[in-house]
Symmetry: C2
Subunit: 242 residues, 2 copies
DNA sequence: AAGTGGTCTAGACCACGTC
DNA sequence: ACGTGGTCTAGACCACTTT
């Protein structure tokens, strides 16, 4: 007998897709509870155990958050615990100081070849370019430059950024319905150029950590490309390997 | 009724501990298959599903590797696919070039305060200090310095390092029975000192990526502290966030 | 054909949070 | 007391690998 299912996909993965689909369409919003496992099992016509396995994988990928006795919730960047989920920078002397974002600029522009390739759009398409600093304990430690596809972030502007209390990703989520799910980063060490050096209070040519990030929303769609320059005099980038 | 189990631990976690214990004592060696889920269920007096959940977590933590139809295996740093599991460096121009380790030095010494704190030993205790370069495509890209507790790595020497084909961790595993399970890294950007600059073929003061790693074996016991300096002219450190 | 891990089900019971 | 997620069981069947 030949293989009947070269593209075999177990039931729980199909359920997983259906749940992601509901998340994408906004049926359940960030921070809200999704239906109980029993209800989902009824709705999809499978056993609770199968729903459970689907939810397990989504929780492992930080899409959902389980809370025993309460329910399962759509994860949100508004949650203080997840607010700087993607920021790996820690103070050398342990202090759990939360960074404060200071927007500098918000421009419209056209995608260059590199931005276009990373964002999966055509060169010349409209994009937004954001610049900001991140301050720890009121000292500037990071300078970031973000490239956003124009269609998804229509109407973003500097005042909006200035008024927003919270992380950039929580703004994306609340104002534009864009939920960041995962990201990849490429790190290098570079020498500080004059303008950057002045802003970070380091000498020209001082070593900085360059962090290039591509962030994805549902369906592995890239929606933000950014480059950060981190001053690592008093901070380091932490990583867990397993 | 008061809480009866403030330290409640589900059965599958206890089974997990028993499996880890068997791994620690060397009952199943790296690369070998462990007993089938049915056998383990019989041995521990639980259902297959409970064993399964324990093994699931161990596989998620890269302690075990499941292979459908074949069995479950103790993961090993000898496996070519896992050989450089902890090395996050990639060539900018994609080439999947495997690095080659070139040992430089293997000294005995005494733990300074920093090494002692990181390795969880007393200052002054004997340690080994290793130095080596990592070459990609025969060009030096990384210079590493490793600090190892003396008791665990008794007898390590430069000839042993030179003769060994494979990663350092596969040597630890084969010759000293030390299996690295996880690690934490702290990254910073630093300026190249003269001696290092010469070895990496960069200018004095050039920016380098400093990677400080603490690696743990079973039971979260730290057994290697190292500092690497990476030239990121043609390579970058890659990271996945979720 | 036999053995392994992988999926799916149905049901019982436990731990946790809320009413 | 009730509803939620979390654990544990027993059994059936599927997919993959080897004999």
């Amino acid at each position: 007998m030949a293989h009947e299912s070269p593209t075999f996909s177990p039931l729980y993965r199909q359920i997983k897709s259906l749940i992601v689909q509901a998340l994408e369409t906004g049926e359940w919003l960030p921070g809200q509870a999704i239906p109980s496992e029993q209800e989902l099992a009824l709705r999809f016509g499978v056993s609770q155990g199968t729903v459970r396995k689907a939810v397990d994988e989504l929780a492992a990928g930080n899409m959902l958050v389980r809370r025993q006795g309460k329910g399962t919730f759509v994860s949100t960047h508004q949650d203080p615990r997840a607010m700087f989920r993607f920021l790996r920078l820690k103070a050398i002397n342990g202090g759990p100081v939360l960074p404060k974002s200071q927007p500098l600029e918000c421009m419209r522009g056209k995608a260059g070849p590199e931005a276009a390739r990373n964002l999966g759009i055509e060169p010349g398409n409209p994009i937004h370019i954001l610049r900001r600093t991140l301050r720890f304990d009121s000292k500037p430690v990071v300078i970031d430059e973000m490239y956003l596809p124009g269609d998804v972030f229509q109407g973003i502007n500097l005042d909006m950024l200035r008024e927003w209390q919270g992380s950039l990703y929580s703004l994306y989520e609340s104002r534009f319905g864009v939920r960041m799910v995962r990201a990849t980063e490429k790190l290098r060490a570079v020498a500080a150029e004059r303008a950057v050096a002045d802003m970070l209070n380091v000498k020209e040519g001082a070593p900085l950590l360059s962090v290039e990030r591509l962030a994805f929303t549902y369906g592995d769609k890239p929606v933000e490309w950014r480059r950060g320059l981190y001053s690592t005099a008093d901070h380091f980038y932490i990583n867990e390997l397993s």
